[in-house]
Amino acid sequence: MTATSLPPGSAPRVRVRAGRLVLYTVLVVATGLFVGPFGWLVLSGLKTPAELAASPVHWLPTHVQWHNFADAFNLIDFLGYARNSLIIATLYATLVTLSSAWVGFGFARLEAPGKKTLFGILIGSMMLPQMITLLPTYLIFAKLGMVDTYWPWVLWGLAAAPYLVFLFRQFFAGLPRELEEAAIVDGCGYGTIFWRIFLPQSWPVLSASFVIAFTWSWGDYIAPQLLLSTDRSTLAVAVMSTYVTSAGTPVANLQAAGSVMYVVPILLIFLVAQRGFVAGMSTSGLK
């Protein structure tokens, strides 16, 4: 069939289909790029060490080593470390979400001298590399007797996080001023306005903030490594440092299997909260 024999109106349809084909191809390639490393991690967790080191590369395991996952689970107190991670991440994510919302509300809706400067300092503090503050942080918590406890995460949670403050500020600044004025006329103070009017409106940002904070904390290696003893440490630290031979050299296939199990909770949380997460990012002017 030639183009000239096509019925009227079919050319735009062909163009639409071709456009979709290109779009889907691009999407599949992009998805592959993002999913590829995780897929490789899963495959690495199913190989023997020798197969992992083979050249040319063995893309698929010759004999699938399912037991690697059981070994990775049993070699360390996986559930114990996961519990520690869960406690720390939930505690921190909950507190920092609420405190950041509180601070973000203040910056968005209240006027005070030096507000802009303060906000600038707050945002500027995001540029401070964590490495610089490591030793002073340790010393402060050591002096306060908080080393080897979960108190640092409580304090960090109560102190709000600059990026999340920015997220909430953007969202709250976008809400109509009439809402606030009507509430003041009805006799509400700012605490009530925040708690009963603004916070319930911000579920998408709350959700995004919780996911971001939970992921930060779940994935953080440095703080638990620095502040907690081995037994009280987190899964991130255990997975990175415990799958080793008697000589201390890494066992890569068990590390891969352990890492797959380590990221599963994050994936689940994201799957559950993704709608809110995307909405939160798009309604706060950050899309």
């Binding site: 209240l110 108190w151 409580v154 102190a159 003041i184 009530t192 620095l226 080793v244 000589a247």
Partner: protein
């Protein structure tokens, strides 16, 4: 909670509450059981050990409780954390360390406990039973290898030796290196070239890996093998321009440039030689006896593998040092020294030491434990014979106390790639290394005094 009508929150009160909320929350929570578990529980004492996962497994910690009645709490080894703990005046009771480099560094800073009085009292760790490798943990204020003991190695290897896979040598038609006499470094590199296999630009078989434990120790060992010293007599300066050090540096640059093995310009994704050697993709691996712990578990690979003496440079001298001697030391400000020493004795001289000796992952550091080294299979006996002969050539190669090996390693990695990629001559590299490393050593000397 419903707001009281008329009790509106002013801006001032809002801001005040923001500040007070945190403090109140923290104060309220302080009554909660935030401590995940209590410190000491039950009978006995608690010893805090800064270690890596392979040093103190949960089983070993349980065994210590059973054998000694001591509770061991481990914190993962981390130099930032160690500095933080020491600065705070509450260091661990025992700390993991690399004798070859950490002993002079920390001893010179006067943070290590002199363990001579403890050794003198011990029935478990007797001076006559200590292998000479433990001298890596001695420092007299000027030279490593002499003076008081500050720690002990848990096991060791002579890290300039190398393993080779006879099947890959046979495939390439290359004669096997002798097991009794050392080859020269020049011969080793030539063999590595002939053994290397490439396909489509990818290295499918590394002819040989020669990276040492940490590059600064490796370069010090190579220089000693060429007949010289990398450091000046007072260890305050480094000199890569002496004929011996230059020879060692030129050889190592050529090793990297020739791409016969993993290096900073051609890293092995496996990060260490074990998996690559086990996969039949590495003909020679510069690993000491300890790699036998892995090789012995592979019944196909073990009979094909041989251990060879440390090479030497043509016209150089035969030395076979230990570049690590990893073990433990006791900080001077440790809170629980007696209990820590009991753990020390147990770890280095009792059950755990016997288990390590029979595991084949290193040579025991007590002479009396040597009969426990694996020698059941023929290939194990063969390896042991080579290893025992090599012990005669052991010597301590002293390291500078004025810089950590890690800092010198970072400086080397910053400068050397240009030379290994052919963009810089060895002489220029030697000059640059002298410049940046001596600056680092100068700062260290100022700190130590």
């Amino acid at each position: 909670m419903h707001p009281r009508a008329g009790a509106s929150l002013s801006r001032r009160r809002f801001l005040a509450l923001s500040a007070a909320g945190g403090a109140t929350g923290a104060a309220a929570l302080s009554g909660c059981a935030m401590r995940v578990s209590s410190g000491v529980s039950g009978v006995g004492e608690t010893v805090t050990v800064m270690a890596k996962a392979d040093d103190f497994s949960p089983e070993l910690i349980r065994q210590a409780r059973k054998d000694l009645g001591v509770k061991i709490v481990t914190v993962r080894y981390d130099i930032t954390k160690l500095i933080g703990m020491m600065t705070n005046g509450a260091p661990p009771d025992l700390v993991r360390g690399v004798g070859a480099t950490d002993a002079p560094y920390f001893a010179a800073r006067d943070v290590m406990e002199d363990l001579d009085p403890y050794f003198a009292r011990s029935d478990v760790l007797r001076a006559g039973d200590l292998d000479p490798v433990n001298d890596l943990w001695r420092y007299d204020g000027r030279t490593q290898g002499k003076g008081p003991r500050y720690g002990m190695a848990k096991d060791f290897s002579q890290d300039s030796m190398f393993w080779y896979n006879t099947a890959l040598f046979d495939e390439a038609g290359v004669g096997h290196p002798p097991e009794t006499e050392p080859v020269t470094y020049e011969e080793w590199l030539e063999d590595a070239r002939r053994l290397t296999r490439r396909r489509n630009g990818q290295t499918t078989v590394f002819g040989g890996s020669y990276q040492g434990v940490l590059t600064p120790n490796l370069l010090a060992s190579l220089t000693a093998s060429a007949g010289g010293n990398l450091f000046t007599d007072d260890f305050s300066r480094i000199d890569f321009t002496t004929p011996e050090a230059r020879k060692a540096l030129a050889w190592y640059v050529e090793y990297g440039r020739s791409r016969v093995g993993p290096s900073i310009v051609q890293p092995d994704p496996n990060a260490w030689d074990g998996p690559t050697y086990q996969a039949g993709r590495m003909a020679m691996s510069n690993s000491g006896y300890w790699l036998g712990g892995l090789i012995n578990t592979d019944k196909k690979l073990a009979p094909l593998s041989r251990l060879a003496p440390a090479p030497l440079f043509a016209g150089g001298r035969r030395v076979s040092p230990c570049q690590a001697g990893t073990g433990f030391w006791m900080p001077k400000k440790a809170k629980n020294k007696d209990a820590a020493w009991r753990v020390f004795e147990w770890f280095f001289g009792e059950g755990p030491a016997r288990a390590r000796a029979s595991g084949g992952w290193g040579i025991p550091t007590l002479k009396s434990l040597r009969p426990l080294m694996p020698a059941r299979e023929d290939y194990q006996k063969r390896v042991l014979k080579v290893q025992n002969a090599e012990l005669r050539h052991f010597s301590v190669i002293a390291f500078t106390p004025y810089a950590s090996a890690d800092s010198l390693y970072a400086l080397f990695n910053q400068e050397a790639p240009a030379a290994m990629n052919g963009h810089m001559s060895v002489d220029t590299l030697a000059g640059r290394l002298n410049s940046v490393m001596n600056e680092q050593l100068k700062r260290g000397k100022e700190q130590v005094g």
